[in-house]
Subunit: 187 residues, 2 copies
């Protein structure tokens, strides 16, 4: 069996960069091909269902990373709530490259018109809220208060990414992460 020129995960990383910056419709197969070093036709050998399959694979790949590095940290029972929160936020900071990289959920929630994406976005956001609800409970909040605060956290993350990008100032995102930590430790 002939060896692959590039491994799947490497392809997905390249895809992710494009999709995050340019959205689904804004990213062309020509660009997706260039970023992998393969030709357009070869992409269809790897992803027979085409562009939509590539995008879905990127979404799932990022979801896995988040599951592993963010959610697992936030809910790690062997750490104190303070440590879980701090480490989880650090992973989030890394996920968005210190505020320099847009969120794929945002990029895909605009346009694309593809229905499956809406469901994946909805599910993914639910996971975020669940993870932060868990942290809220660890800080002795009531179930409803924990969920309310978790929603505020998701809003702060998403909003600060937007505003950071608008002002071209990643510090706005970084500051928001600090504020989020304070929302739990100082209230």
């Amino acid at each position: 069996m002939r060896p692959q020129k590039i491994e799947e995960q490497e392809m997905l990383n390249g895809f992710a960069k494009l999709f995050k910056e340019k959205g689904y419709e804004g990213t062309s197969l020509a660009e997706l091909a260039v970023v992998t070093g393969l030709k357009k036709a070869s992409l269809y050998h790897r992803f027979p269902k085409g562009k939509e399959e590539m995008a879905k694979a990127v979404l799932l790949s990022i979801n896995e990373w988040v599951e592993k590095h963010v959610f697992n940290t936030l809910t790690n029972p062997s750490l104190s709530p303070e440590e879980r929160l701090k480490n989880g936020l650090q992973s989030i900071q890394k996920l968005y490259d210190d505020g320099n990289t847009p969120c794929l959920l945002q990029a895909f929630s605009v346009q694309s018109g593809i229905e499956v994406f809406h469901q994946l976005i909805n599910d993914s956001m639910s996971d975020w809220v669940d993870a932060f609800t868990n942290i809220g409970l660890a800080f002795d909040l009531s179930q409803s208060a924990a969920k309310e605060k978790a929603t505020q956290v998701l809003i702060a993350i998403q909003g600060s990414l937007i505003v950071s990008r608008g002002f071209n100032n990643p510090n706005i995102f970084i500051n928001s992460l600090t504020n989020i930590e304070a929302m739990y430790t100082q209230e």
Copy 2:
């Protein structure tokens, strides 16, 4: 002189709907034509520089609406700070159709690659921060505290629009507006 089939403002309203939902690249000239009732070629009579001019016109049109209905209200010296804030937030709620309509700045900040847009987005966001900084000063905050809070407000608006859309639940946006009011009146 032959009369126009549709007035400019009506066209812009139709354009806005499309651009907000589908983004810049995601919206085709064919769709822009359908929504106006004109043919593609006619769009070029009205907007000789094409799609980019149409998009820019929509941005400016919305900026004008916001200037008039949101910023002027927030800074209206003949009202109390509480009333200015309340009325301004009501206009914002209307602007985003109770959380059912995405923000054009978001839709255009993804993809598009057109440099002029970045500047317009940056300028527009600056106006938002300035307006809410003004309200913060009216609530006796220091300049820096007012600006800091204004940034938080913009983040909350943008973030809650994203999350509302993700969960297909406009109430999240409505609640955020309520929280924003409380940020000034209860602190």
